[in-house]
Each structure stands twice: as C-alpha cells, then as structure tokens.
C-alpha cells in the first residue's frame, strides 16, 4: 500500500516544506501519492506532479477548501485514508492544524515532529 502526503500549498504554488515530507516518505516506501486539497489549485497540483518520486497526485478542488479550514480538509483526508499505510504532512501551522484531526477521525495516534524513521526502531521525534 502507498503513502499519502497532504500537500501544503497556496493553491497556485506548492509550499517548500512538502519537499521535506516527500524525502521522508520515500525513505519509508517508494510508492508515494500527494493529495492537493484546495480551490483552483491546479498550480500546486501540477507542481506536485513534477516532483521526482511521486507516483500519483490527487487533486481535489472545491470552493469550501479555499481557506484551508481544518474541519473540511480533515474530513476529505479521512474519506480516502483507508487505502494508505501512512499519512504524512509538514509540521507547520498547516499540518499541525489538520493532521491531529485526521488521526482522531481515524481513531489512531499521531506522531508529531518526526525526525528520523527506521522500519525496526519505528519513530524518533
């Protein structure tokens, strides 16, 4: 199963922090999907598709995603979360706002501010 990255973006462009998340994701699994949730976010979605190592970009566009409201974005992530082993996001104000909400909706714990990952000694933060 693949890994999902929730991309941080300003609709027209991707935030640089997403690249750090991508590097971390590729250390876990080679199949990485990027989710771009926004409004008129073609710019960010196309930028995500250009990144080396990304196998698929999911672009979900609707007016109510324009303000990046945690309530709406988390519900959207929950809707597709079932097909992924890991869900990653940048530990910025954006990721911190949304990811714990996703975790609670899925009834799983979350690890914040991950620094190193290794399959045997699971997470370091």
């Amino acid at each position: 199963m693949a890994i999902l990255i929730l991309a941080e973006h300003q609709h027209s462009a991707l935030q640089a922090g997403t690249l750090n998340v991508l590097t971390a994701a590729l250390a876990i699994n080679s199949e990485v999907h990027i989710l771009v949730v926004g409004h008129q976010a073609q710019g960010a979605a196309l930028a995500a598709a250009q990144l080396a190592g990304v196998t698929k970009v999911l672009h979900i566009d609707a007016p109510h995603f324009e303000s990046h409201g945690a309530e709406n974005v988390a519900a959207q992530v929950q809707a597709i979360a079932g097909s992924y082993t890991h869900i990653l996001a940048n530990a910025s104000a954006y990721g911190k706002n949304i990811l714990p909400r996703v975790a609670a909706l899925l009834d799983v714990a979350q690890v914040m501010r991950l620094r190193r990952y290794s399959p045997r000694m699971p997470y370091k933060y």
Partner: protein, 249 residues
C-alpha cells in the same frame, strides 16, 4: 455561555529536565510541577470572558495523578468556578485525553472549550484538534485573540507568515498561543477561596473510555551536546574550514 478549560500538570518550565538513567523517560521524582503555561493562558482567557459578562461559568478539567488537584486549585484561584479531575496513574496519550474530554463535554455541554496549544512536556500539539474532531465542532488553533459577536466566536490565529481571522459557530474548540494574554498573579485571598470550591474526582472507567496507550516509547535520550569551538589563526584558515570542513561555502 459555559466554558470548559483543560489543564495539565507538567514539570515546571524553570526546571532543567533530566533523562532517567535507564532512558525510560524523564525524571519527575522531587521535581517542581506546575500548570502547563499554555493552559494557564486558557484559564485566564476563560476567566476574562466571565469577568466581561460573556461567560456564565468556567469549569476546569484535568486528567492524571491525584496531585493534579493542586493544578485544578490553581485554575480555581485564577477564577475557574469548579474543577473535575479524571484520576488515573496510567500513561495517558493525546487521543485518550481527547476521548475523556469528549465524555466530559457530553455531560457538561459547554459552548466553548479552551485548551493550551501544546503541553511543554511532550510538545504533542494534538489534543485540541483531536477533541474538536471527536465533537465534530469548529476548531481554532494557536489563537492570539478571542472575541464574541452574537452567536459567533471571532478568533485571530497565529499561522506561519501571518495571522488568520476565523468566525466560528458554537460549540467550538480553541487552543491558545502565547500572545493571547498574560495570566494574572494569583492572590492569597483567591487561593484561600479556591480551597472551598467544588472539585469532583472521577475515573476513566466512569466515563467508559479506553485509555490504552497507542504509542510505545522505546527510549528517551538527551539531545546531542554541541562540540567545543576552535579559534582559527587567520581569515585564510577560517575560509578553508568553512569550505572543506563545514562545507557551507
């Protein structure tokens, strides 16, 4: 409007935290404990809303050891009306805290729930968001300004590179940032008054919540110490080191 504030008992922010010799955690024996600073800001904000005549009652909740009663007394000395302690000796993680708080919210039915954005011991920054998700209500994290306008709550949030203004429907969960307010010093008369306020003790089982930890800590280590600096002879040596050792230019 009724407000619920969650407070956590943590190692005092002035204490130098030490890792236990067996690396199983940090030393908490004989260490000064106090209320998590972000939670203190939350209590202060709730009490200010009450003093402004907007809120009718402020209920403080804590989860943890019996000693957390002191933390609740501090909250009541700031101005909370009563306290609830969910007493447990178990390792309680953010998801379990959110579930316990949800059970209390279901009983108390507050319109506004205020939490610190994170605890200074585990730095998780999750509980408020998780609680909001479980309650399926509005959420505003990292609040630096809270105002009430009719049946909406206006919140200014501190986000990367600026501020964000939100208008929330009720009920709502708000987590506090440092700039929200500066908590008052508690006075002796208020500490005495707080001793007479109601403090209810319950157990996680009473709320029907499974608090089994989901994350296992393998070990806790100190951050790497910085190696000592060296004095270079001249600019040439400095440039050489920057180029070949540090590889920054």
């Amino acid at each position: 409007m009724k407000i619920l504030v969650a407070v956590k008992r943590v190692i005092d922010y002035n204490v130098k935290v030490r890792v236990k010799s067996d690396q199983s955690g940090v030393e908490t024996a004989n260490v000064k404990m106090s209320m998590n600073p972000f939670d203190e800001i939350g209590v202060e904000e709730a009490v200010r809303l009450k003093e402004a005549g907007v809120a009718t009652e402020v209920v403080a909740v804590s989860i943890g050891l019996a000693q957390a009663q002191e933390t609740l007394r501090t909250a009541m000395a700031i101005g909370a009306d009563r306290g609830i302690l969910v007493e447990t000796t178990a390792d309680i993680q953010p998801l379990a805290v959110a579930k316990l708080l949800k059970a209390i919210v279901d009983q108390e039915k507050p319109e506004l729930i205020i939490l610190g954005k994170q605890a200074i011991d585990d730095d998780c920054n999750q509980t408020g968001q998780m609680l909001s998700a479980l309650l399926a209500c509005s959420q505003a994290t990292f609040a630096s300004k809270v105002e009430l306008q009719g049946d909406r709550i206006l919140v200014t949030r501190e986000i990367d590179g600026g501020l964000e203004n939100l208008s929330l429907s009720i009920p709502a969960v708000i987590t506090t940032d440092l700039r929200l307010n500066e908590p008052r010093y508690v006075t002796l008369p208020n500490i005495m008054k707080a001793k007479k306020k109601e403090l209810k003790m319950i157990k996680p089982e009473d709320l029907g919540v499974d608090v089994t930890p989901r994350v296992h800590t393998l070990k806790v280590v100190e951050p790497p110490t910085r190696s000592a600096g060296v004095i270079v002879a001249d600019v040439k040596a400095l440039v050489d080191k920057l180029k070949n050792e540090a590889k920054v230019i």
